[in-house]
């Protein structure tokens, strides 16, 4: 599997920069990054992923978001599955359908492991994205995809936890949302593992997810119940 360590590093680096509002933390991260970059050629073969490895960071430690049925969902609800989470809004005709279509493609490429991937779509436009729209929208792509929303204040907190930004931008008659388009991946143990840029292809994402799922063997398929013996 062709991995470009430089690209992966750039992705991780990008994350750190965007996180770096706090000067000191930014500097610390840069120092760590510098050490990593300097040592990188030695470890190039160890770079397993196309996406940025953010294992062990504080990004998206947990979330508390409402699904279209009104049920509050947390990260722990999806334990046992890899979780691909990204932010968007349904009035977006351009990038959000692309991200969701990529998720469909990733699931397909994973084959049997596709069932071990949960896709979560978090709305950055709670004002317009009602549960009804969210449900219809995500299910138009895949019935297993889950749309999540929350109120404006809690969305702000959640976005901060995920280091994503969004802004309402007025247009002639209405408004649109500018927003970060990275996707994050959790492993089946609920640990944050990867940041996947929008430009990553479905193939690259699927390879990364497959590599992570490999460390978590699928639960053995229950043997079909033996037919009840009957008298002849």
């Amino acid at each position: 599997m062709a991995v470009d360590p430089a690209a992966s590093r750039a992705e991780a680096q990008d994350m750190v920069f965007r996180a770096g509002k706090n000067w000191l933390r930014g500097l610390g991260a840069l120092a760590v990054l510098g050490a990593f970059t300097a040592a990188a050629p030695l470890h190039a073969a160890e770079t397993k992923f196309h996406g940025g490895d953010i294992t062990g960071t504080e990004t998206g430690k947990d979330f508390s978001l409402t699904d279209p049925d009104g049920k509050v969902r947390h990260l722990a609800d999806f334990k046992g599955k890899a979780v691909l989470i990204f932010f968007g809004f349904t009035q977006c005709p351009v990038i959000c359908p692309t991200a969701l279509s990529r998720a469909v493609e990733i699931k397909k490429l994973l084959g049997a492991d596709g069932a071990r991937l949960q896709v979560l779509f978090v709305s950055v436009d709670p004002e317009r994205d009602t549960p009804e729209i969210l449900r219809g929208y995500t299910q138009a792509f895949d019935p297993s995809f889950l749309g999540l929303t929350t109120d404006a204040a809690h969305l702000k907190e959640t976005a901060k936890d995920f280091k994503i930004t969004y802004e309402k931008v007025p247009t002639g008659s209405s408004y649109t949302m500018d927003h970060s388009v990275v996707s994050y991946l959790y492993d089946p143990a609920g640990r944050i593992r990867l940041v996947l840029n929008h430009a990553r292809t479905a193939e690259e994402c699927a390879q990364d997810i497959a590599a992570i799922l490999k460390d978590f063997p699928a639960a053995p398929v229950a043997a079909p119940p033996s037919p009840t013996p009957t008298e002849k």
């Binding site: 005709p93 317009r128 009804e132 219809g136 138009a140 002639g172 500018d178 927003h179 929008h198």
Partner: protein, 157 residues
């Protein structure tokens, strides 16, 4: 041979009167129930420098021209006043770039539905002409007329 000559000159005249923009692969992304906005996409090739300055359609009153761009990993969307169509160059209105934005949709846009657009083009001299195009709605999870979609379509045959 008088009549054919007249015909040809009439044709040539009518050609010069209307905006010479070829519109291909026009499509609209269908919506899910209650969704109030979507986008229209197409390929425009103009004979002579013109600008696409506005659009209207038969399913909503609110139509804008938007441009999507990426700032790092951030998606930005802006309304634009016009799209330049330089002579002979095909400009694609596609997801990830320019698109015609349909807002305040009163009803769901269903896959297969045909939507009529009127596009207004402005020439260098400021004169404006309107051209009509019909676009078919494709399911929300499809992006037709891409290289990939063409490949998949080929694979089916």
């Amino acid at each position: 041979m008088k009549i054919p000559t007249l015909l040809i000159s009439l044709l040539a005249l009518s050609g010069s009167l209307r905006a010479d923009v070829t519109i291909a692969d026009a499509w609209v992304r269908a919506t899910v129930p209650a969704q109030k906005a979507t986008g229209a996409f197409m390929k425009l090739t103009s004979k002579g420098d013109v600008k696409l300055v506005s659009a209207t359609c038969d399913i909503t009153k609110t139509v804008e021209i938007h441009e999507m761009s990426m700032d790092g990993e951030k998606m930005k969307m802006r309304e634009v006043k016009a799209i330049d169509l330089p002579d002979g160059k095909t400009v694609s209105l596609k997801p990830g770039g320019y698109h015609v934005m349909l807002l305040d949709l009163p009803e769901q846009v269903k896959p297969g539905q045909e939507i009529t657009f009127k596009l207004v083009f402005e020439k260098a001299d400021g004169s404006r002409e309107t051209q009509e195009v019909k676009a078919k709605a494709y399911p929300v999870n499809e992006t037709p007329f891409t290289d990939k979609a063409a490949k998949e379509e080929d694979a089916k045959h």
